[in-house]
Symmetry: C2
Subunit: 317 residues, 2 copies
């Protein structure tokens, strides 16, 4: 009998799930659209049915050891999703409470960035590391901080919100209502804004001048940069510089061995990694210089979210 965990990643659009063994092999997976227009009880009933179907597709004999869930604004201590901006459910949703009715094994929930960090620790590049950080770069900037071999949840379960450290007290308005948050610069939306600002202030040619703000994506900017578009290149340079500089503050908090960059924007490779590394090293306090690795996630990209969520099960044992 092979021991397996179910990993569920609840996203704004889709909920993906898979059956994962201890070595991070995804034996079967599927997804449903995240329908948060219906009550949570109904949604998770449907999700459970789909998971059962998927479990039946696994050819080996398996024994289920637990269910791990990554979710926006997921609270580890309470097993709840709380006031998630990208979901239509209002207030606090007791996800673990609902799913416990269907599963006779531990059900564990945390936010998606924390799940990514646990995934990196159990299956990925952080195996054996006791102090590291995962930064998830996508629609927002999330983070999972591991110190002394344990994820830091904080007293209320909300630790690790590095997207809302402040880069510029008089800077861009952030979705959280405050000004100058790191996420307002280092995220998909932030990169687009920086690109548009540069387009306005510079006269360089750019094929992306004909693309509307709404249609513009970070992938387009990344592709253009790789083809030599100066404005697109400068956009990544500025983004990486801001992240690198701001990570110096994070380093003095927990002194990590490595910082992993995870998610869509990290796929831009050197475009983002080079300026992050350069400006981090340049601005670090002396005792931390030349010590900290900036690494890409080692999790298989297509399964990363499922792997992270499933890893919660192995970590808790």
């Amino acid at each position: 009998m092979k021991e397996v965990a179910i990993g569920i990643d609840i996203g704004g659009t889709n909920t993906v799930f898979g059956i994962v063994d201890r070595h991070g092999r995804c034996l079967a997976k599927n997804s449903i659209s995240t329908n948060s227009s219906i009550p949570p009880e109904k949604f998770f009933k449907i999700l459970h049915e789909e998971i059962e179907k998927t479990l039946k597709k696994v050819k080996e004999k398996v024994v289920l050891k637990g269910v791990g869930i990554g979710a926006p604004n997921g609270n580890f201590y309470r097993g709840t999703i709380e006031y998630a901006a990208n979901l239509k459910w209002k207030g606090i949703v007791d996800v673990v409470g609902i799913l416990k009715k269907y599963f006779n094994v531990p059900v564990i929930l945390t936010n998606d960035a924390n799940a990514a960090a646990i995934g990196e620790m159990i299956y990925g590049g952080a195996k054996g590391m006791r102090d590291f950080i995962v930064i998830t770069l996508g629609t927002g900037l999330g983070s999972g901080i591991v110190a002394n071999g344990e994820l830091i949840y904080g007293h209320d379960g909300f630790a690790g919100e590095l997207g809302h450290t402040t880069y510029d007290y008089n800077g861009r308005r952030c979705g959280c209502g405050r000004k100058g948050c790191l996420e307002a610069y280092v995220s998909a939306g932030g990169i687009k804004k920086t690109f548009i600002e540069l387009l306005k202030s510079k006269s360089n040619k750019s094929e992306l001048r004909k693309v509307s703000f709404n249609k513009l994506t970070t992938e387009m900017i990344s592709k253009a940069a790789k083809k030599g578009d100066k404005i697109a290149q400068e956009t990544f340079e500025i983004t990486g510089k801001i992240l690198g500089i701001k990570l110096t503050d994070t380093v003095v908090h927990t002194s990590p061995e490595a910082i992993f960059l995870f998610g869509g924007i990290a796929k831009a490779g050197d475009l983002i990694f080079k300026p992050v590394k350069y400006h981090l090293e340049k601005n670090l306090l002396k005792i931390f210089k030349n010590k900290i690795k900036i690494l890409p996630s080692a999790l298989k990209d297509s399964d990363a979210a499922i792997l992270g969520a499933s890893a919660l099960v192995w970590k808790s044992r």
Copy 2:
């Protein structure tokens, strides 16, 4: 037989030490001047002799369980003092290696701010807390961060250097060579600088206008503020504001239940606590508002450094 620990605090000027029981009662104590002009081996031999004399003064029968040391730039993992700016010893001093020759019990060393945090956890106001931070406000700004009930040392033993988070990238030169560090504003020297800047730019009367910069102390500024000196009051208001604003970044890292302010400047009471609390709450990300206590240290002032160092022994058991 009463179990006791020796607590040693190595300061730039004096080294204080005491015999402390599990409840944080200091049974005997003494101090010698920190003579770092002589080789470390010689200094610690003398220190050991003085400690033995002090042990003999304890009237109860005691059994020694360990030796804890708080020291500037103390490294927990290596038991060393590394490149301490306030000591004359060059490079790396293997303090634990030297003291192990004299004591047949565990010898544990960390930096003074980490020792203060462990002291608060074992004997003070953080008893039972799993997530909290101690900020030491004195010549510099030090910090000890506790998460999941454990002090965060980081992969190299140097975590918790919050004095070197950056408040203003174009700001005051810091002793570390970088610009705008929190410590350049929120520390004894930082407060003096702010006061002098205000004296220059404002015309308010102040008795301290006749005191030279070298003779000026934070105690004088604090006393003047309590007597109604507007410039002295504004100095604390600005200092507390900067600390409060900057702590919002720290909160999103580890989400502590409480932040303790420890050391000389914290004795200014409401002068510093009020603006810290106000500007922290005002600037916090919504999910963290009205949750975090800003507290004075509950350790007995005169013994605080000895208590912190001795607590390392009980924490490690």
